[in-house]
C-alpha cells in the first residue's frame, strides 16, 4: 500500500487543494498540516494589542467569535470584503467579540463570505480559545455588541471556561457499499444461497428477492454499527467528548465530531491514522482543527428591555 504524505499550507489555494485531496475513489491520500506555526495563516494575519481602526459611523460590525481578552486586539486584514476588512475586538470586561466592519445588510452565505468567516475563526483560534458565532450576524453599532457581551457575560464566561484549550475535529467514515455487499454475499451462507436461488429459479423469485434484500440490509446495518462503535471506542480516551451527527448519503456510515484537548491533538491524530491503517475498506475524511461548533449551542434572542 502506498502512502502519500503531502504538506499543504491551507492559505495558498484552498479550493484546488480541496479538490486534489478528495479523490473520487476510495483511495485517499493523507494531507497533513504544515507544522511551522503561523505558516498557513492568511497573509496579514497577526495578533497584537491595538485600538480598533477608524471606521465610518455608517458601517455595521460583523461578529465572528467570542474570546477572552484583557485588552483590545487586532488580527490584521483578514475579514470580509475586498480588500479584506481589518479584524479587531470589541471589549467588555474580560471578554471580547472579534469583529470587522461590514455593510449594514443581510450578508449572503456565498462561498467567499462563508470561507472568510471560517478563516477568521481559524486564525484567532491559533492564538486562543474561541466560541464561534454562526454565520451572518451584523450589529449596527459597537454599543450593541457591548450590550450583548454584558447581557450574555456569564454564559460566555462559562462556555469559554469549558472549551478552554480544546479544539474540534471532524471525522466522516465512508464505505464502498457495493463492495461491502459482495463481501457480505461471500461471508454469509444464507445470503449466498438465496442469491443463487434467485439466479437459477425458473418461477417467480419475488419472495426470494424480498428475503435477500432484507438479509442484505440487516447485514449492512450490523456491519456499519460494528465499525462505528469500534471507531468510537478506539478514540474514546484521546478526546474529551464526541457527537454523532447524521450520516449524509448511503456511502457514509459515520459523521462525527470530536472535542480534543490541544495537547492531545497529536495522540488523536495518531489514533485516527492508525484506524485508517486498520480498516482497509473504509475511507476516513478527517478535518480540523475547528472551533468547537459542534459542542457549543448558545441561542440568542431579542427581548424588549425593561
Amino acid at each position: 500500500m502506498s502512502r502519500t504524505i503531502k504538506r499543504t499550507g491551507r492559505s495558498k489555494t484552498p479550493p484546488a487543494e480541496a479538490k486534489r485531496s478528495r479523490p473520487a475513489t476510495a483511495a485517499v491520500e493523507r494531507v497533513i498540516r504544515e507544522e511551522t506555526p503561523g505558516s498557513h495563516l492568511p497573509a496579514g494575519a497577526t495578533r497584537m494589542p491595538g485600538p480598533p481602526p477608524a471606521s465610518p459611523d455608517k458601517r455595521g460590525k460583523y461578529v465572528y467569535c467570542i474570546v477572552r481578552a484583557d485588552e483590545a486586539l487586532r488580527f490584521g486584514p483578514i475579514g470580509f470584503g475586498t480588500p479584506p476588512g481589518e479584524v479587531y475586538t470589541v471589549l467588555y470586561e474580560d471578554i471580547a467579540a472579534v469583529v470587522s466592519d461590514a455593510p449594514i445588510e443581510v450578508l449572503d452565505a456565498t462561498r467567499e463570505n462563508v470561507l472568510a468567516h471560517e478563516r477568521v475563526n481559524e486564525t484567532v483560534m491559533r492564538y486562543q480559545t474561541v466560541i464561534p458565532m454562526s454565520f451572518g450576524t451584523v450589529f449596527k453599532t459597537r454599543d450593541d455588541i457591548v450590550e450583548l457581551l454584558r447581557g450574555a457575560h456569564s454564559a460566555f464566561q462559562d462556555v469559554l471556561a469549558k472549551m478552554e484549550n480544546k479544539v474540534e475535529f471532524g471525522l466522516k467514515v465512508l464505505w464502498d457499499r457495493d463492495a461491502m455487499i459482495r463481501q457480505i454475499e461471500h461471508d454469509d451462507e444464507d445470503i449466498r444461497r438465496l442469491k443463487s436461488e434467485i439466479a437459477t429459479q425458473k418461477g417467480s423469485t419475488y419472495f426470494a428477492r424480498v428475503q435477500y434484500g432484507r438479509l442484505v440490509d440487516g447485514a449492512l446495518q450490523s456491519r456499519s454499527e460494528q465499525y462505528v462503535s469500534e471507531i468510537f471506542e478506539a478514540l474514546r480516551d484521546v478526546c474529551v467528548a464526541s457527537r454523532a451527527n447524521k450520516p449524509i448519503g448511503d456511502k457514509m456510515i459515520m459523521n462525527a465530531a470530536f472535542l480534543v484537548e490541544r495537547d492531545r491533538e497529536n495522540a488523536f491524530d495518531a489514533r485516527v491514522k492508525a484506524l485508517g491503517g486498520k480498516y482497509d475498506s473504509l475511507t476516513f475524511r478527517y478535518t480540523g482543527p475547528w472551533p468547537p461548533y459542534n459542542f457549543v449551542n448558545i441561542r440568542l434572542k431579542l427581548e424588549r428591555a425593561k
Binding site: I104, L115, G151, A155, A244, K301
Partner: protein, 112 residues
C-alpha cells in the same frame, strides 16, 4: 488505507455544515431585524435564550440529534417558535394532569 486530513477551512461543505446553525446562533428573524435597528434606541436587547455544551462521549449513531433545531423553530419568525413553546407548555400541563389521574387510579383499584 491512509487517512486524509484537511484543515477546517479547505472544505466548503464541512464549513457550511458548521457555520450555518452551530456555535452561537441568533435566530434568523433576529438576525434580519438586527440589521438597521439601533438596539439602544428601540430599547431592545439580545439575551441568551438557551445554552448547551455537549461534553459527553456518544457512541450510538443517531442517539444524539444534530444540533440544528427542529424545523418548526427554524422556519423563521418568532411567532412560530412562540406557538411551539405554547404548545409545549400546554402538553406539559396535560401530561401533569394525566400523571395525577394515573396516580389516583391504582389507589382506587386496590379497593375492589
Amino acid at each position: 488505507m491512509p487517512v486524509e486530513r484537511t484543515t477546517g477551512g479547505s472544505s466548503l461543505i464541512d464549513v457550511l455544515d458548521r457555520v450555518l446553525d452551530k456555535g452561537i446562533v441568533i435566530d434568523a428573524w433576529v438576525r434580519v431585524s438586527l440589521v438597521g435597528i439601533d438596539l439602544i434606541t428601540v430599547e431592545a436587547r439580545v439575551v441568551v435564550a438557551s445554552i448547551d455544551t455537549y461534553l459527553k462521549y456518544s457512541e450510538a449513531v443517531g442517539s444524539v440529534g444534530s444540533v440544528s433545531k427542529p424545523a418548526a423553530l427554524s422556519t423563521g419568525d418568532g411567532r412560530a417558535s412562540e406557538s411551539v413553546l405554547a404548545e409545549n407548555a400546554n402538553l406539559r400541563a396535560q401530561l401533569a394532569a394525566t400523571g395525577r389521574a394515573r396516580r389516583r387510579r391504582p389507589a382506587a383499584a386496590k379497593t375492589p
